[in-house]
């Protein structure tokens, strides 16, 4: 079964540094998402992306965050200047079509630790 793959599995970064989390969605999927889960808290929506544009973003997704689809396969989340509170598990998801009646398929996640 096709999978969403995320790299790296664990990223350790100094506070203030930029970090890029990478995702390869399922190949025929067109809609992409990032979620995060701070330890002990809920999985939270960050952003959705379609046709090279952000479709929707949460209040968490401020100017420090950006997303990009640099080529036909990768979907990246960049945090420009990391803060301690950015430490979390970040999940990428994709769906074949957008809209509400589509299941989202998740990757294994990247654990981001900010020191």
């Amino acid at each position: 079964e096709p999978e969403v793959t995320q790299t790296p599995s664990h990223q350790v970064t100094q506070m203030g540094q930029e970090v890029i989390l990478r995702c390869v969605p399922i190949s025929n999927h067109l809609y992409f998402y990032w979620y995060r889960q701070i330890l002990g808290q809920k999985v939270e929506f960050l952003v959705s992306f379609y046709n090279n544009e952000i479709s929707e973003k949460s209040e968490i997704f401020d100017d420090q965050f950006s997303v990009e689809r640099p080529d036909g396969s990768n979907f990246t989340l960049k945090i420009r200047s990391t803060k301690l509170e950015d430490s979390a598990m970040y999940f990428c998801a994709s769906s074949e079509r957008g809209g509400r009646n589509q299941p989202q398929h998740f990757g294994d996640g990247t654990r981001l630790s900010i020191l």
Binding site: E3, V4, Y31, Y33, Y35, Q41, K42, V43, E44, F45, S48, S55, E56, S58, F91, S95, G98, G99, R100, N101, Q102, P103, Q104, H105, F106, G107, D108, G109
Partner: protein, 113 residues
């Protein structure tokens, strides 16, 4: 505030016991409902989903869930759990007018042989 609630944070069962995990949501209008499972060290996997139609939905691995609109609930059930069902279970809601998912806090299920 609008939210998704999973009241059972940690459930411990013996094999063959029956399982019911609660999920309540507070969104009005038409919602889509999901249960995801995360086995240790693995990604979130879709167990089952409800969009419309029969409120009793069957998923993979013998799981089912019932949508009760009047109670704003979508509880997950399995008649007889196995040790391999040990995992974290997440209820998720797709509110009206968006395709983002709103997750509950998750329920950690431990099944002992």
């Amino acid at each position: 505030a609008q939210s998704v609630s999973q009241h059972n944070h940690h459930v411990i069962l013996s094999e063959a016991a029956s399982l019911e995990l609660g999920c309540n949501y507070s969104y009005g209008g038409t919602v889509n409902l999901f249960w995801y499972v995360q086995y240790p060290g693995q990604h979130l996997q879709l167990l089952l989903k409800y969009f419309s139609g029969d409120p009793l939905v069957k998923g993979i691995k013998g799981f089912e869930a019932e949508f009760i609109k009047s109670k704003f609930s979508f509880n997950l059930r399995k008649p007889s759990v196995q040790w391999s069902d040990t995992a974290e279970y997440f209820c998720a809601v797709n509110p009206p007018n968006t395709d983002k998912l709103i997750f509950g806090t998750g329920t950690r299920l431990q099944v002992f042989p």
